[in-house]
C-alpha cells in the first residue's frame, strides 16, 4: 500500500471527478428515457422500433462513440461533455425499455379510475402514471447508475480523467495496488449511487416501503438487466 499512502490526494480528486462525470448522465438519461419510454408506451406502433433502436445503441462500442460525438455535437473530444453525452446515450439505451415497461406496469384500471374520478390527462400523467411507474423505473435506474459508474473508467483510454486513470497509469507502471484501488473505488462509487437511488426511491415512493404485516415475497420484477461492463 506504498502507492496508496503517497497518492491519497490524487485518489480523492479522481473519485470526485468520477462522481461529477457519473451523476449528470444518470439524471439526463432518466429524463430522456421517461419521455421516450412514455411515447413508446402510448404509441403501440412505435413501441417495437423505438425499443429495438434504443436498445441497439448499447451495442455501439464506446471508443468510436467518443470519436463520433465531437463530430455530431461539436464538443471537444477530451471533455466532460463528450463523456456525459456518451454515457447519456448508453443510459437511455438501458433505460428506455424499463421506462416503457414501467408505464406498462401501471394497471389499466388505475388509468380508468383516474379518468373516472375526474383527473385531467396532464394531472393523470404527473400524479398517477409517473409515480406508479416509479418502482420499475427505479429498478432500471439502479442498473444504469451502476453501469454508468463502471463505464466512466473507459474514458481513461482517450485521456478523460477518472478512476479509470488509475488503471492505465497503474498498468504502465506495473503498480497493481493502483489498479486495485481504482477497481475497488469504482465498485464503491457504484454502490454509493445505487444506495442513493434506493433511498431516494423510498423517500419519494412511501407506498413501496417494506411494510409489516405482509409476509408475501417482495414483488418481483424481472430485471431489465442489460447492465455493466465497458466496451
Amino acid at each position: 500500500m506504498n502507492w496508496l499512502s503517497q497518492n491519497t490526494d490524487l485518489v480523492f480528486d479522481l473519485t470526485l471527478t468520477h462522481l461529477r462525470l457519473s451523476i449528470p448522465p444518470i439524471l439526463l438519461s432518466l429524463v430522456l428515457a421517461i419521455a421516450i419510454g412514455y411515447l413508446a408506451h402510448r404509441q403501440r406502433f412505435a413501441r417495437g422500433p423505438v425499443l429495438t433502436l434504443t436498445g441497439l445503441l448499447y451495442a455501439v462500442p464506446s471508443l468510436p462513440l467518443f470519436i463520433m460525438i465531437p463530430v455530431v455535437f461539436g464538443t471537444p473530444l477530451r471533455s466532460g461533455s463528450t463523456m456525459i453525452i456518451a454515457l447519456t446515450i448508453y443510459g437511455v439505451a438501458l433505460l428506455v425499455r424499463s421506462a416503457a415497461d414501467a408505464f406498462g406496469s401501471v394497471d389499466r384500471s388505475v388509468h380508468e379510475t383516474a379518468n373516472a374520478v375526474g383527473f385531467s390527462p396532464w394531472a393523470r400523467f404527473w400524479r398517477v402514471e409517473l409515480p406508479l411507474a416509479g418502482p420499475v423505473l427505479l429498478a432500471g435506474l439502479r442498473v444504469v447508475a451502476v453501469s454508468t459508474v463502471s463505464l466512466v473508467t473507459v474514458g481513461a483510454v482517450i485521456g478523460i480523467q477518472s478512476l479509470g486513470t488509475l488503471f492505465t497509469d497503474g498498468f504502465q507502471r506495473g503498480i497493481q495496488a493502483e489498479i486495485f484501488t481504482g477497481v475497488i473505488l469504482t465498485i464503491l462509487v457504484g454502490y454509493l449511487l445505487d444506495t442513493a437511488c434506493v433511498w431516494t426511491g423510498r423517500l419519494l415512493m412511501p407506498w413501496t416501503r417494506p411494510r409489516p404485516r405482509t409476509n408475501s415475497r417482495a414483488p418481483l420484477h424481472v430485471p431489465a438487466d442489460v447492465a455493466g461492463g465497458a466496451r
Binding site: 384500471s109 379518468n115 374520478v117 375526474g118 409515480p131
Partner: protein, 270 residues
C-alpha cells in the same frame, strides 16, 4: 333523477352493446341493473358520467342533457365505484378518499378532515387512514371505494359490481352496510351486478337485462320473484331451480327451511 332516453351504443369494432334503452331512475332510489356478462350494464352506467358517450339518444340528469356538461366537471360531481375498486395504490387510504375534493380545489387539510369522517361512515377504523390500499383486505378496499365515491357529496352514486371481487361472507356484510348507508343518505343510486341475489338484497327496484341492454322486467324484488314476467326472467332468477323452491322440514322439533335438494337455508321465524 336520471333519465335514459332511447340510448344506443355501438362500439367502434361494431359491437352493439346497448340498443334503444329507455328508463328513469327516480331520485333517492336505488335501482339495480342485473344481467349476464356482456348484457351492456357497464356501458349503460358509464353513459351517466360520460365515460361512454351514447351513439344515439340522450342521458339526462335532472332534465339536463349530460352532453352539455364538461366531462371532467361532470365526473367530479358524480360518485363512481368501479368494477374492481380502482384505488390509487400510491396514495394512503385517507388521500384516496380525499382525491376528488382536492381535484375540486378543496384544501388538502380540509379534504383530509372530511375524509376521516367518511371512513367512520363506511365503517372503517380511522387507524387504517395512513395505510396504503395493498395493506387492506378486499372488503376494506371496497369500503374505501365507497367512501371515495361519497367524498364529493354527490347526488348520484354509480356502482359497478362493487362487491364482485370479495368472498361471499364479506360480500354479505357489505350488502348489509350498503343498505344502511342508503337509508341514511338517500342518494340516487344505480347499482350494477350480475348476481340476482345481490340485486334482490340491494335494489328498491331491479331491472333485469338481456343482451343489448334489453329490459326483460323492471319491478320490486318480491314481485319479480312472485311473478316473473317471462321465461327468460324465470330462468334468470332460477324460479324453478332447487335453490328457490323451498320447503319447511322438522329437525328434532325445529322448523328448518330447506331447498329443493334438502340443504338447509335458515329457520322459520316463530
Amino acid at each position: 333523477m336520471i333519465e335514459f332516453r332511447d340510448v344506443s351504443k355501438r362500439y367502434p369494432d361494431g359491437t352493439v352493446a346497448v340498443e334503444s334503452f329507455s328508463f328513469v331512475v327516480p331520485s333517492h332510489e336505488t335501482v339495480v341493473f342485473v344481467g349476464s356478462s356482456g348484457s351492456g350494464k357497464t356501458t349503460l352506467l358509464r353513459m351517466v358520467n360520460r365515460m361512454v358517450d351514447p351513439t344515439s339518444g340522450t342521458v339526462l340528469i335532472d332534465d339536463q342533457d349530460v352532453q352539455q356538461v364538461d366531462k371532467v366537471q361532470l365526473r367530479r360531481s358524480i360518485g363512481y365505484v368501479l368494477q374492481g375498486v380502482g384505488l390509487l395504490p400510491h396514495r394512503t387510504i385517507l388521500d384516496n378518499v380525499a382525491t376528488v375534493p382536492m381535484l375540486r380545489g378543496v384544501s388538502r387539510a380540509h379534504a383530509r378532515k372530511d375524509a376521516l369522517g367518511l371512513l367512520d361512515r363506511v365503517g372503517l377504523d380511522r387507524a387504517l387512514a395512513t395505510r396504503y390500499p395493498s395493506q387492506l383486505s378486499g372488503g376494506q378496499q371496497q369500503r374505501v371505494g365507497v367512501a371515495r365515491a361519497l367524498a364529493a357529496d354527490p347526488n348520484i352514486l354509480l356502482m359497478d359490481e362493487p362487491f364482485g371481487a370479495v368472498d361471499p361472507i364479506v360480500r354479505a356484510e357489505l350488502q348489509v352496510e350498503l343498505r344502511r348507508l342508503q337509508s341514511e343518505l338517500g342518494k340516487t343510486t344505480v347499482f350494477v351486478t350480475h348476481d340476482v341475489d345481490e340485486a334482490f338484497k340491494i335494489g328498491d327496484r331491479v331491472v333485469i337485462l338481456s343482451a343489448g341492454g334489453r329490459i326483460e322486467q323492471a319491478d320490486t324484488p318480491e314481485r319479480i320473484v312472485a311473478h316473473p314476467a317471462n321465461d327468460f326472467v324465470a330462468d334468470f332468477i332460477g324460479a324453478r331451480s332447487a335453490r328457490r323452491t323451498l320447503r319447511v322440514q322438522d329437525v328434532d322439533g325445529r322448523e328448518v327451511v330447506v331447498d329443493g335438494d334438502g340443504r338447509p337455508v335458515g329457520m322459520l321465524a316463530t
